[in-house]
Structures are given as C-alpha cells and as structure tokens.
C-alpha cells in the first residue's frame, strides 16, 4: 500500500518509493516483540533470585573461611542422600545458563528490531525521560556478560586465579582479591555497579512487561527496584573490598 496524497501545484510530483516494504505475518508468541519481552522479564527474574542467593552466600566469608567452605560444600550436597552428589546444583546451573542464553537472545533480537525500526537517525535528539535506560541496558548487559566470563575463569574454574582450581573456595576468593590484585577488585567494582544500574531499570521494567504495573504502583515499584539493586551492589562489593583492604584475611 502506498500513500496517495493530494498535492498542490507548488509541490513536485511524488515518484514511487524505491521498494515497497515487505510485510511478514506475525511469527507466534516467541516471534513477537511482546513475547520476547516476556521471556526477558521471566529470565531476568530468575537471575535476580540467583543473585540474591549468591550474595547471601558470599557474605559468609565474614563468618570465617570454614563457614564459607561449608556453604560451598552444602551447595554440592543439596538434597543428599536423596539425590547423588551435585545433582540439584547442576540442575539449577542448567536452568540459570538457559535463562542467561534466553535473556541474551531476546535482548539481541529486540535490539536488532529496534535498529531496523529507525534506519535514519536524528541529527538532533534530546532525551526527555530517563532515556539513559536503553543505553545502560544494552551496553550494561554486554559489560556484565564479559565480566561473567572473567568471573567464572577466576573464581569458579580458577584459571586466572593464583590458587588454581584445586583449592578451597575461600582460599580462591581471598587470593583473588588480595591487595596486590587491586585491579581485579576494580573490575569487579565496575561490573557490580553496572549490574545495579541494569537492575534498577530491569526490575520494575519486568513487572511492567508482565502487565502488573499501574499508576498506583509505579512509585513503590521503582523504589523497590532501586532498593533491591542497592542491596545487591553493597552485598556483592563488601567481601572483595574487605579482602583488598585487609579486613578479611
């Protein structure tokens, strides 16, 4: 369908457009932008729950190395002897990896759709709302993904950790953030702050996407999102900062 517009004599005749846009049929729930947003919201919620548990676990380092190591061991023996060693943990890990992959898939495909929706950029563009959100979500998500790779190599697999893989979790953690490796703490600091910014928008945005927000809830919703993000940032930064500054040895 092309536009036909009555034109005055002062205007030039309109040539036909270069190509008529091809319209696709809607591609089912997962193909729709709203469906992808829902996937993003649900997988994001899974990751937030994981982060809360992860943060509480990390804080055990303040109760001593043994407490931290016992916690790491307990994770692997969850529901034992009902289930074999590391069964439930592996199931949870698979669920988490699936969430990460789906979250990234939805984000990339929505970002590409957004890029196609605005082929010609504005010469001047002035954000009127909290317009930094989109920027911080996509750029921040990428930063966090890169950090997670480093983080797993450091503290999970011990590849870039001074203590290596065959060491107690608490030793890896303390060696990883020792004062001479201050730059690791710095990377960690930047990444955690990025997670906080990502969640400040992401948490309330997920509730909106799932259709549970309304004008009476926005204030509480945004305040809760900010609170959860702040708690996570403080909770995740406390152990590495305490180790780097020698409070925990």
């Amino acid at each position: 369908m092309t536009a036909t517009i009555e034109r005055g004599a002062a205007t030039a005749p309109v040539p036909a457009p270069k190509s008529t846009p091809t319209r696709k049929k809607p591609g089912g729930f997962l193909g729709s932008s709203n469906g992808k947003k829902a996937v993003m919201a649900v997988t994001g919620a899974v990751m937030v729950l994981f982060l809360l548990a992860h943060m509480l676990g990390n804080l055990k380092i303040f109760l001593g190395k043994d407490s931290f190591n016992d916690y790491a061991h307990a994770l692997r023996t969850l529901l034992e002897p009902l289930l074999p060693y590391r069964t439930l943990l592996t199931i949870l890990e698979v669920g988490l990896v699936a969430s990460v992959v789906l979250h990234m898939w939805a984000a990339i495909s929505l970002a590409r759709r957004a890029g196609k929706a605005r082929p010609v950029k504005y010469v001047a563009k002035k954000p009127q709302a909290n317009g930094y959100a989109t920027h911080i979500m996509r750029f921040g998500g990428l930063t966090i993904a890169l950090f997670v790779v480093w983080h797993l190599l450091d503290l999970t697999f011990g590849v870039v950790n001074p203590k290596g893989f065959d060491s107690a979790p608490a030793d890896r953690m303390i060696a990883g953030f020792e004062p001479s490796r201050w730059w690791v703490t710095l990377i960690y600091f930047v990444a955690v702050v990025m997670v906080g910014l990502h969640l400040r928008h992401g948490i309330w945005s997920a509730v909106q996407t799932l259709g549970w927000a309304n004008r009476n809830r926005y204030r509480v919703l945004k305040a809760s999102a900010a609170l959860v993000s702040a708690v996570l940032v403080v909770g995740f930064l406390a152990p590495p900062l305490a180790i780097t500054f020698g409070v925990v040895k």
Partner: protein, 246 residues
Amino acid sequence: MNLTLRVWRQSGPSDDGRMVTYKVEDVSPDMSFLEMLDVLNERLILEGDDPIAFDHDCREGICGMCGMVINGVAHGEQRATTTCQLHMRHFEDGATITIEPWRAAPFPVVKDLVVDRSAFDRIIQAGGFVSVPAGSAPDAHSVPVRKEDADAAFDAATCIGCGACVAACPNGSASLFTAAKITHLSLLPQGQPERLSRAKAMVDQMDVEGFGGCTNTGECTAVCPKGIPLETIARMNSDYLKANAK
C-alpha cells in the same frame, strides 16, 4: 525575532534528503510554530523555491496531523503541546532551530517533514473497534460504567494518533499509541467481548508494520501531547499475555 532554521528537505520518498539552512526574519513571538513556517514558505514560493511540506489540519491541537521533531524533541520541548500549539515566544531571539520529520521505518517520508502514518491506520483496522448490534442508539444509561473507568478510558481515548511516541522512542516502538487504543476499549463494557483477541491482533500488527519493541524508557509519554500514561502499556502487555495464554 530572527531565527536560523535547519530543516530536513527531501523531494520525495526515493530522495536521500538533507538538512538545509534558512534564515527567517521578523518573526512575531505570538506566532505559532506552523505560522512561522508559513511565513518562510510564502517567501520560498515568491523566490520560486519549493515550499517546505509539513502536515497540519485543525491547528487547535486536537486532530493529530501536525508533528515534527524540533531541536531533538517530538513536538518541541513544551510539554503536552502539539507543534501547532507551540508558540514562538518559547524560543530565544537569534536561536538556531533544527526541524526533522518523525524517524521510523514504518513512517516513510513522503516529502520534507511529511511522513506516511498509514501504519497506524492498519493497527486500528486490526482490532481498534467494538462490534455492536446495529439499530437505533441505545439509552445512555443502559450500560453502566464506573466513573473511574470512564475517566481512565477517556484519558486513553484522547490519543490523537500523531505518532510523536514513535518518533521519540529510541526503539521506534508504537507501544504507547497501540496501548492507548487498547486501553480505551478494554476499560469499557462494550470492549470486553473482543478484549483479548483485540490486544493480540493489534500488537501483532504493530510487529508486522516493523515498529520496535518497548523498553519502558518513558520517552513516549514525556513527549505525548495528550499525556497518555505509561500504565496503558502495562495493560496492553497484560491483555496480550492473557490472549496468548488462552
């Protein structure tokens, strides 16, 4: 007032287009933005040049025809105001003003600042209606509506379909427009029978047209001349998810 305008000129859909600078002198602060462009256009016609094409109709802020991105803001920086109701007193003497059309792939430029917004019509055609029995008009009180619902439905129904939400959205999403239309009908008893199928049909059409997805940045509601609230998008999301769960 004397102004420098940087205006997007594009002779037709297949032209690449470019920014062209014009000087406009002796502009009255009481002129509307469109009247200021009228003055420039009269001069361009006298000089044998092609006048700048822009959409406009009622010039009362209620029809939804006008709209341009002024200094990077859809309808200009004045809140809850259409371009035709924006007055030159809000600009400083000697200012340079950048004027661009709505930018979105589903809104192809027809000429200069005129874009084709038929994509909105097709979203409405997909489900923005209620099916009612034909015949004489029913009594006004035959279907009771809660006052709160009537007010919220009316707020949503004030959407004039100008397309500023799409222009402002960093994703080029039509969510606020579609959500306003869905909310307006889904709050009223007459809209209930088709509520879920309507949400599905309209959201799917929005995707088919090539609009982007919503990232809840709130840019749309900030520039909306009618102040359509962001909560309409939550209602649309809710109806769409329910429609898919069925």
